[in-house]
Symmetry: C2
């Protein structure tokens, strides 16, 4: 992500010594603490974070998108999930213990702390970067064992991080109706009607993508995510936006937000500095009537949550903005479709180019990813990548969230599988696509496992299910073929995708790990990406972004209606990797129909753009399979 | 269940008037309450309950196994799930509102109370029959809206229930090693080692089936469930059993429990009256050291849970007894297999008999169920039924937990589908099987939907999945074929089954509704019972009890191992109802292999028992399908 930390371990002896010193330093805390928790996120609980917020990476070296470090007087441990086991073990030195989440024998953070701490210990954490629900659980678990969790206002990592970057404040981009389908004023009105429905006086927006979506603004404060650092507090007649005030000096932004000439008083935005949210929220809470309620996400920071007195606080798992944002309107769907067509053009070009270049032995993981970025950047309204490209050859493919670095960079060849998981931000939409290819002759085992993954991909993509089904109920469909052969993969099957917003967004997804996901409904967009990983050999993943659409099966039980998925990603799936004997006729039909759509839709755009070589490649790769 | 309430509505005007009077009567409560909650269960949170505990049925008339009634000054509402919508609407008069759980528009009990109660209301409930976790949720939700939940010590239903039956106290049955595989002393030692592992000083057992399993005792206090009213408190050197003392006068019971000659001091059982558990637990808690912890299920009664001071209380979702009981040992598995063979013999006889008798027009739902019971009772070690037989013809089959009553009793015919869901308790095991049959010519639609249900049944039964997979991840497999045609069923797919114990037991199952189920492991036993219900026309369900066994697929990812199911139920599935064109070759092979096992195993037993007509029927019904 934000940093180019190598895959060789970071040496942390001295840093840990300094951190442990800070844990005893009365400059920061009244009494020494026996453990310090370093979560992954920023004050907005973002998944992707700005360099100034990469504190967990700074202390332990591991730079994956998910992980929590805990340092005690004697121990240092880091928890991450199956996507990152290999990467984390390579990036951390032996001062650190890797805690593999999801394995039965792995202690939870709470249980581990209880097992290593001396009696009556104090555990510290920065209240801005721990979510309120996590604070609550951790605090309860520690209390039950006689320990206590305390908020350390000065971040102890920042205290020892000498060259910590400053917080970014990039230029804001305003989005018109042609991209958003709804004005920010419409969105505000809809939000307030949800608030009125539940008798809520105030709503505190803390998630960066929700704020960007609400105001139809984008930024580039965080790499890959077109968001900007801000908070918002919305009342029935008040809108407060907390953001670096310098950013609001631009006339287009002032006009977009109607800062100088608000149309109505209740749509007049009061702006204030980013840092003032804490005191302003205190002021709002001080003026609350006895029955007034304030909505805040239960994933918001503990610091901000606790400003709201408990009697007035109404924490919610998913905010109305999160829910409204997830269901794309017609304009957004059209934009996402356009973005995916452009993205497919770039990938067809890339694969045609790779076929020619690989035999020369000059293409590496890095140069292939660079070429993909270059080709995407030629497309209209390209903004940047939507996440660091996972461009991996052979054994590197088994590192699920691998990112090529000079010292790990392998050359693409005719002998090893190539996995490319990449995507881009266009002003009209966000893409995320994985294709796994072999440019020589795949082995029978590689084809076999690829085909199981394909069967899982199709099982989800073609699934028909009742309206209101939660995505987690579809996860096993993606695994069925792998399970039958004793295989599996240690990650979820899909995540929500934003529209020119975060490539990972809630509240829906397809994963065995969540149960609190919101029901799927038409207009939601998720990824479908089963995989198979053979450590030390190869990785396989087939990922499309798919749109939830109404289905019309034969019957309609209790008039509930049915849903299915429509692929937005239209990039051929390499037939060479498929053992067609393992497919059912229905699955073969699905592949052929998918390739027909690729040829029709992407072919037309390649034709329009006059990209002949990619067109030839597309035609060849979309021949029907028998 | 316990009562023969008719399917015509119970008239509740007078009862509601009396209850509302009691809600204002200072004889029972210091201040009037504005609402009174009547949960379904007893003080042990049993699913099936004794007649003296059928309070919810008494007040509203609905006698299904799940449902909660709430009465306010003006309203009366009853919540139940999809299995019971039809039945509840028929059994309740129009003083009651049926709250259909699982439908989007249905308010939760909390939200409904908040919507109907005047400000600052008080809601009462008997703390013995509400579980601690439910109390907590309800109390929190009400508090957030300015209301309060209070414990009403005198049960207000009992106060107005003039002819309330007394609590049963039946004879206890002792089970030897040949049935249990483990002595109660072994089980106690295993329990204590789990307690030592987690540094727990005391364990309070409140679930009746856990207590029966622990002591290798059975009773018949509750119809269909071979349990007896008791509590147990286990310390590292102490065992206290709370039970009607009269029951312990029997020499075989005294000897079994070693009441007069304990082998070791820590295995000496102190007995005390059932009602004294409250004061005895108070005494135990009064003597606790500062760090001592007491385990109690979070589903135990609020009354008993709150005896344990919060600092000492360690609530758990599943007790170690619940987990140990779920994984059957070799003796129990052997017993369950034997029980299922005997049960299949009785059913083959029944179906052969039905074929002969139905054309005469003399067989009804009730007489068919009676015949099934009579045939089962001829089998060795038969104790009784494991639940009320669901014997339903045509439209009655769409009432998922239907029980035939004189006024609803239909005659079996050649024109309507017959669904029989029934099971028995044998000393060696518990059975639960559903077969759906047509004795004439099923329509194309009946065959089509039956075949989708069969495909779902097979998809679960034949599923191969990684060791440690939770059952809820398999639920969608059972629905896939129905979903593809726009159909579904509104109940879970499977439940745990006890061994000569409750036919429904935790902690595992196969349902979209639970997420907190424990991972499946070899030795667990669950049901596999998808269905399809067409209101007013017919019901279809195909249910086997299946054993979790290791599977040996081609590969073994991360040495995790794989599991699958082995059917214990061996009763032919009616081929006449199957549209074989809709089955895959794999599914046809599954059916033929299943029928081969039925013929081989049940055939041998029919031969041994000399039951010729059933044998002929079995041979004919197990012909391979093409």
């Amino acid at each position: 992500m934000g940093s180019d930390t190598a895959m060789s371990p970071k040496i942390t002896v001295e840093l840990l010594r300094q951190l442990r010193q800070a844990m005893r330093n009365t400059k920061y805390i009244a009494e020494p603490i026996q453990a310090y928790i370093v979560p992954s996120g920023d004050a907005h609980q973002s998944e992707y974070i700005a360099p100034c917020d990469c504190r967990r990476e700074f202390i332990c070296g591991f730079n994956g998108s998910a992980g929590t470090a805990i340092v005690t007087e004697k121990h240092a441990a880091m928890w991450t999930d199956g996507r990152y086991f290999l990467q984390a073990s390579q990036q951390m030195d032996n001062n650190w213990t890797l805690m593999k989440m999801g394995l039965k024998e792995t202690l939870s953070q709470e249980d581990w702390l209880i097992s290593v701490l001396p009696e009556n210990s104090t555990v510290g954490v920065d209240p801005w970067i721990i979510a309120a629900d996590q604070w609550k659980n951790m605090s309860k678990a520690l209390a039950s064992a006689g320990h206590s969790l305390v908020a350390v206002q000065d971040n102890l990592i920042d205290a020892i991080w000498m060259d910590r970057p400053t917080r970014p404040s990039t230029q804001l981009l305003t989005l018109g109706l042609g991209f958003t389908g709804l004005t920010w004023q419409d969105k505000m009105t809809a939000l307030r009607s949800k608030m009125a429905e539940r008798k809520i006086s105030w709503f505190v927006a803390t998630a960066l993508d929700e704020i960007a979506w609400l105001f139809n603004l984008r930024g580039s404060d965080i790499e890959y995510n077109p968001v900007f650092f801000a908070y918002a507090i919305v009342g029935m007649n008040t809108i407060r936006l907390f953001v670096d005030i310098k950013r609001l000096a631009v006339p287009t932004v002032r006009e977009h937000l109607q800062l100088d000439t608000p149309s109505k008083v209740e749509l007049s935005i009061q702006t204030a500095p980013y840092e003032s949210v804490f005191t302003e929220l205190q002021a709002v809470c001080a003026s609350l009537g006895p029955k007034e309620k304030v909505w805040i996400s239960d994933k918001a920071s503990c610091a901000l949550t606790q400003v709201i007195p408990k009697a007035h606080r109404s924490p919610i798992p998913y905010t109305p903005l999160c829910l409204a944002k997830a269901v794309k309107n017609a304009t957004e769907i059209q934009g996402m479709k356009m973005a995916h067509i452009k993205d497919a053009v770039a990938l067809c070009e890339l694969f045609a180019w790779l076929e020619k270049e690989i035999p020369k032995g000059t293409v590496t993981e890095i140069s292939a990813a660079d070429k993909a970025e270059e080709l995407r950047s030629q497309q209209k309204d390209f903004v940047g990548l939507s996440f660091p490209s996972i461009s991996s050859v052979g054994p590197n493919g088994a590192i699920i969230h691998y990112r090529p670095l000079p010292e790990t960079n392998r050359t693409l060849s005719l002998n090893e599988i190539y996995l490319l998981d990449s995507g881009a931000q266009y002003i009209d939409g966000t893409t995320d696509v994985t294709r796994t290819m072999h440019f020589g002759s795949p082995s029978a085992y590689e084809k076999e496992t690829f085909t199981y993954v394909l069967k899982g991909h199709i099982a989800v993509s073609a699934a028909i299910f009742p309206n209101g089904t939660k995505g987690h109920l579809l996860d096993s469909f993606a695994r069925q073929a792998l399970w039958e052969s004793g295989l599996d993969y240690l990650h979820g099957t899909g995540h929500g995708v934003g529209c020119f917003l975060n490539v990972h967004e809630g509240p829906c997804g397809i994963s065995y790990k969540t149960f609190a996901d919101e029901p799927l409904e038409a207009g939601m967009i998720v990824s479908d990406e089963p995989g198979y990983y053979e450590d030390g050999l190869f990785g396989i993943r087939i990922e499309n972004v798919v749109l939830v659409v109404p289905a019309k099966p034969k019957y309609n039980y209790r008039n509930k209606g049915s849903l299915t998925f429509e692929p937005l990603t239209l990039v051929p799936i390499q037939a060479k990797m498929v053992n067609t004997d393992l497919l059912t006729q229905k699955e073969r039909d699905w592949v052929n129909e998918y390739h027909r759509q690729c040829r029709e839709t992407i072919g037309a755009e390649l034709e329009r753009q006059g990209r002949k070589e990619a067109m030839d490649w597309l035609i060849r790769e979309t021949q029907p399979i028998a």
